[in-house]
């Protein structure tokens, strides 16, 4: 299978090129067929790859060609697939296929139909390169590729000014993170002399076998995390993601919920051997992640645009994933990533279905009672919301529960883990509340839309089928993660993060102390704890802790739902009056903690002033002025020299004679023995 790895990203790339070059003029309304088939083909190949890795338990590696060779620097284009890649491949190609199918219905009739189905497979190509790359530079290629496609697709409705602005914002904000990632890649190269992470000479092997100073590794980890902050919308660069909802809804579902935004998490998980040795960086990641989760959830509580609520929910969930990375719960982070991809894609596609049925209305205050008009959308949306809120036994429950347990068990600083866990639990409460605020406002209660103009209807089958499939996965996927930390998902992924050999030796070693299987997860941690680093010093997570956490988080989630029920269904609290009584607080949340305003005033505005100054004073006045002065001077010199050419042949002969005399005189004086 290894020799066919290249086909997986190649198929969508070919589809994209085909649609751009051929379908554009030949059959623009059927461009979706090629794109969907290509992505589905990639999915089938991914299944084969997954099966081979699942059976043989070894990584696949294909080197396609040498990319750059310059002095001691050498990088190849190589594809690498281990268990982590296999999981990402399945998720990406599966969700992509569904979104392509959905978009075939959603985008129908759009004048730029072919353009949409040129960029979307191009995005899939870049994303697949990102997850399959065998070195950091190729990851960066995919990373920038998905960023470009994101830009193109957010700005898809390019005639709308806000879409153009949102696209630019997403791109520019991401540049900040990319800059950090770029620096990180350079630091990796200067430290290890290679950018490839797989193999005997690879970065990871060097980290584990040779030992590198913790200080350097911490810097690398922080720089990589800077990249993730941009791409995975963590505080303080989260501001681009909600605006990215200007793009078509399938794009929001695929790029800004399921795949691209999780690239940062993937990068961190992929770099786990580096991160594990960088305790301080891990603590920073955990804290930033927990704060981002809370930030996103708090803003989501008061937004009225259905897609924005889901978008802020995405920010919040990405925060959970970063928290999981930060506390060393690697598998849980990936588990949540995949589970989130299913239910959040379902939520976005569901909102798309609602918007579609409501004639492009996005304000939930103008909806209500839609349950009876669009039953399939309602049920799938409800299931996905329950999963997002973390209700037993849906996918979101198991993954989120593991993260909170992992946070509780971590102790970078005394007590910090407990605070992180409690913070995450509060966030979980808010999550349940805003998800069900959305449900009650949209699907229940009185119908607040104008019956004369709006006639809600269920979406066509091509759109509801993906919803049903995704909802089914939102329910069933959790089963792979049961029992917590020991499910089949964990068995499959553990070798990536703990290594084959480590797995066997340390498991038995620690098992004697811990007498339960959870030692597998934290075996390395135990070692570190003894060494004094205390990365997540709790040697064990007991079954009792897991049970208690499960109960607590279930109670928390149900309470959130209950609060939403009381407020929005039973009207026990007058929301409008409450908001006006606490106007300052409400506005603070409604205006997204004033992040955009602060950035505008203290970063964007001074920068614009600076560029205006550079342009008008430095460039036009200084540089151009100097240049014109030089041109003037040169022209003057040229004019003077030109007068030497008198046109008189006697003058010409004189020049030759004079030249000869000067040369002879000079050389005789300087070099000959004539005057010695």
């Amino acid at each position: 299978m290894a020799e066919y790895l290249f086909l997986i990203p190649l198929l969508p790339l070919l589809a994209s090129a085909f649609n751009l070059l051929v379908a554009r003029t030949a059959f623009p309304d059927r461009a979706n067929v090629v794109a969907t088939l290509a992505v589905f083909g990639s999915f089938l190949l991914s299944v084969l790859v997954f099966r081979e890795i699942y059976n043989d338990e070894h990584a696949l590696h294909q080197t396609i060609s040498t990319w750059i060779e310059s002095g001691s620097f050498s990088t190849s284009i190589g594809l690498y697939a281990d268990q982590l890649t296999a999981v990402m491949l399945l998720m990406v190609t599966f969700v992509s296929t569904l979104v392509h199918i959905y978009a075939s219905g959603y985008m129908k009739g759009d004048p730029s139909f072919y353009r949409f189905f040129s960029w979307l497979p191009l995005f899939v190509f870049a994303m697949l390169v990102l997850v399959m790359a065998d070195n950091y530079l190729l990851i960066f290629f995919g990373w920038e590729g998905v960023g470009l496609c994101s830009y193109l697709l957010i700005g898809f409705y390019h005639r709308r000014r806000s879409a153009g602005n949102a696209a630019k914002k997403a791109f520019i904000v991401n540049r900040i993170g990319d800059f950090g990632f770029g620096l990180g890649i350079m630091l990796i190269f200067t430290t290890f002399g290679t950018l490839s992470f797989a193999g005997d000479q690879g970065v990871f092997h060097q980290v584990t076998e040779l030992g590198v100073s913790e200080r350097t590794l911490t810097w690398i980890a922080l720089l990589l995390f800077t990249g993730a902050i941009g791409k995975s919308a963590q505080f303080p660069l989260h501001v681009w993601l909600p605006d990215a909802m200007e793009g078509p809804t399938p794009v929001s579902a695929l790029i800004h919920a399921a795949t691209m935004v999780t690239a940062g998490i993937y990068l961190l998980a992929r770099s786990s051997p580096i991160l594990r040795e960088a305790g301080d960086a891990m603590m920073v990641i955990a804290i930033v992640g927990a704060f981002t989760a809370f930030l996103g959830a708090s803003i989501a509580t008061v937004q009225n645009d259905i897609k924005r609520v889901v978008a802020y929910s995405t920010v919040s969930q990405l925060g959970y994933m970063a928290l999981a990375i930060g506390v060393g719960a690697w598998v849980s982070a990936i588990f949540h990533l995949v589970a989130h991809a299913f239910f959040k894609a379902c939520l976005f596609l569901g909102s798309g279905s609602v918007i579609h049925g409501m004639h492009e209305e996005q304000n939930i205050q103008k909806m209500g009672g839609l349950r009876k008009y669009m039953p399939i959308t309602f049920w799938t949306f409800l299931i996905a919301s329950l999963a997002n809120a973390g209700v037993v036994p849906l996918a979101g429950f198991w993954s989120k529960d593991e993260i909170i347990t992992g946070a509780w068990a971590s102790n970078y600083l005394p007590g910090l883990g407990n605070y992180l866990a409690i913070f995450a639990l509060i966030t979980a409460l808010i999550t349940a509340y805003y998800m069900f605020r959305l449900i009650f406002l949209t699907f229940f209660g009185e119908e607040r839309f104008d019956h004369h103009h709006v006639h809600p209807h269920e979406s066509p089958k091509v759109m509801t089928l993906p919803l049903v499939i995704l909802a089914a996965f939102a329910i069933g996927f959790g089963a792979l993660g049961f029992p917590p930390d020991e499910g089949r998902f964990h068995d499959f992924l553990n070798p990536v993060f703990y290594g084959e050999s480590h797995h066997d030796e340390e498991a038995t070693e620690v098992a004697g102390v811990a007498s339960d299987g959870s030692a597998v997860l934290f075996s390395t941690a135990a070692e570190e704890g003894e060494a004094g680093h205390g990365i997540h010093g709790h040697p064990t997570i007991t079954d009792e802790l897991k049970l208690n956490m499960g109960i607590v988080s279930t109670v928390v989630a149900l309470s959130g739902i209950l609060i939403a029920f009381l407020i929005y269904q039973k009207k026990r609290v007058d929301v409008v009056r409450f908001a006006s009584e606490h106007e300052g607080f409400y506005n603070f949340l409604y205006n997204k903690w004033y992040f955009d305003d602060v950035y505008d005033r203290y970063i964007v505005f001074p920068l614009r002033r600076l560029s205006a100054w550079l342009w008008q004073k430095v460039d036009v006045g200084g540089i151009d002025g100097l240049l014109l002065w030089i041109v003037g001077a040169l022209t003057w010199i040229s004019g003077q020299l030109r007068r030497l050419q008198t046109g008189l042949v006697s003058n010409y002969a004189l020049a030759i004679a004079l030249g000869m005399v000067v040369l002879v005189g000079f050389y005789f004086a300087a070099f000959s023995d004539l005057f010695r």
């Binding site: 040229s638 042949v649 003058n651 010409y652 020049a655 030249g659 002879v664 070099f671 004539l674």
Partner: protein, 515 residues
């Protein structure tokens, strides 16, 4: 060489095969012009010229790797001869292609046969210089080449500028020849030999063991450099260049911007490197200084020219400066010490080859336009991209190549020269080339700018376009555009061929008493 003890060995004709072929071509042209009917002259004489130069070019293949002399040492066949002949013959073929239609239709239908005959004898002269092993041979070759060129310059005899330019060229030319001959006399007096290797041996004795040189040696050196500096149009011996280039028929300008210059450089290399190599510490500084003022003056004055032919004349002076840098970077005794690029002499020869493709190309486009009723002023090129897109593209390629932008051949030419200068510890000269190239961008790109952004003249007011077919000129343009684009990419092979020039020094070192 003892003149009274000549041994009458048979000359080795095989060694002078290319020169012989071109000479026979010239004879054939004379006979053809005299006896062929008027109708078929154009085709026949053009054909004879092309076949002759082509055959000579092909015969170089068998000359490669030879390292021998004949005619009592006055003629040598070595790597230097091969490469210089290569440049001269390629330039000759391109010149014929550029000239053919122009001479047939323009400048009052001047006699075509004589044109080709003069061209052929000029080429013979240049080839003799390339293979000269003796001062006398160098002088004869140069004079043969120059005399033919004087006449060619005056070829548009009814146009006063043509005659004026030719006369200036001729008067100053004999002045310079006298100086050159005087220098040769001094060199002979010093060493007792006109043979290049003999001079080298004699000079070596003269300079050995002294910190300062005998004034006579220095005088010989300076007179030779001044005399040859005229031929290559180095400042301040360049004054004839703009007037002659501007006055001459455009194909002649193309021709004489390359072949007499190549002959001059061939003589410089033969004399300075082969004969006066031991003095290189002194003359490299002389050449370097002349190179600097040559490139500076050429570029500066080119800035304010609005006549494209005259601009190209000054640009040709500037390029002489760049080429001289290659010679200035010569290091005696460490001929093949270069790792990065080429040594100075190889860089110079590569530059000459590149220059033939760029400069003849630029003049060829002007000739092409003149044949379509346009002038050679900058304004005449205005809006050319709209009316004659292919001509505009070719001109843009030549201009950008002259400017030295990769991947065109002009860039590689400059690159090798700059590397050679840096390796010879003449960083200041390398920096000067770069700065001067930046300056030159102004007047080269102005041509491109005018062609692409200028307003095309109103078709009704301008002279009615003449529709002439110029198949040979078109072919030449295609060859040169392709050459500009492609030859740079294969520069390593050309450089390898060029580096065989140093076989010219091996014979000298085999002579007893030398080195």
């Amino acid at each position: 060489m003892d003149l009274f003890n000549l041994n009458f060995e048979h000359p080795d004709w095989a060694l002078i095969l290319p020169q012989l072929i071109v000479f026979l071509t010239a004879i054939a042209l004379v006979l053809g012009d005299a006896f062929l009917p008027e109708r078929s002259k154009f085709n026949a004489l053009t054909g004879i010229s092309l076949v002759g130069y082509g055959a000579a070019l092909a015969s170089l293949y068998w000359q490669r790797g030879k390292d021998d002399m004949t005619f009592q040492g006055s003629f040598r066949a070595d790597g230097l001869t091969v490469f210089l002949s290569l440049i001269i013959l390629i330039a000759a073929i391109l010149s014929v292609l550029v000239s053919a239609n122009y001479i047939e239709y323009f400048e009052d239908r001047v006699p075509l046969g004589e044109y080709y005959i003069l061209l052929a004898f000029s080429v013979v002269g240049a080839l003799l210089v390339a293979g000269a092993g003796d001062m006398i041979m160098i002088f004869i070759g140069l004079e043969l080449s120059s005399l033919a060129t004087y006449v060619l310059t005056a070829y548009a005899r009814r146009r006063v500028e043509s005659v004026e330019g030719a006369l200036k060229y001729f008067l100053l030319g004999i002045f310079a020849s006298a100086i050159l001959l005087y220098g040769m006399a001094w060199a002979y007096g010093l060493s007792g030999s006109t043979d290049l290797d003999g001079i080298r041996a004699g000079i070596s004795e003269a300079v050995a063991g002294s910190d300062y040189m005998e004034a006579s040696v220095l005088l010989a050196l300076l007179l030779l450099v001044v005399g040859l500096g005229f031929k290559i149009a180095a400042v301040p011996f360049h004054m004839w260049t703009p007037d002659a280039y501007e006055g001459a028929p455009t194909p002649v300008s193309a021709y004489m911007s390359v072949i007499p210059k190549a002959a001059g450089f061939a003589a410089l290399i033969r004399i300075l490197v082969q004969a006066l190599g031991p003095l290189s510490d002194d003359w490299t500084w002389l050449i370097a200084g002349l190179a600097l003022i040559t490139m500076a003056l050429g570029n500066f004055v080119a800035l304010s020219q609005r006549n494209v032919k005259r601009m190209l004349a000054y640009s040709s002076i500037a390029h002489t400066g760049y080429m001289m840098v290659g010679l200035a970077a010569y290091q005696d005794g460490s001929v093949l010490g270069s790792q990065l690029g080429a040594d100075g002499v190889t860089a110079l020869m590569y530059y000459m080859l590149a220059y033939a493709f760029m400069n003849i190309g630029a003049f060829a486009v002007l000739a092409w336009l003149q044949e379509r009723g346009k002038g050679v002023m900058l304004d005449d090129l205005s809006g050319l991209a709209g009316t004659h897109p292919l001509a505009a593209v070719s001109m843009a390629v030549f201009m950008i190549s002259l400017m030295g932008i990769p991947p065109l051949i002009g860039f590689y030419a400059k690159y090798y020269v700059i590397v050679a200068a840096i390796e010879a510890d003449m960083l200041w000269l390398a920096i000067a080339i770069v700065l001067m190239s930046a300056l030159s961008a102004y007047f080269y790109l102005r041509v491109v700018f005018v062609m692409y952004f200028g307003q095309a003249p109103d078709a009704s007011t301008s002279a009615p376009a003449r529709t002439v077919a110029t198949p040979l000129l078109n072919a030449a343009l295609v060859i040169m555009v392709v050459g500009n684009l492609a030859l740079g990419l294969f520069s390593q092979g050309i450089i390898d061929l060029g580096e065989e020039w140093n076989t010219a020094l091996t014979l000298a070192s085999n002579i007893p008493g030398v080195n």
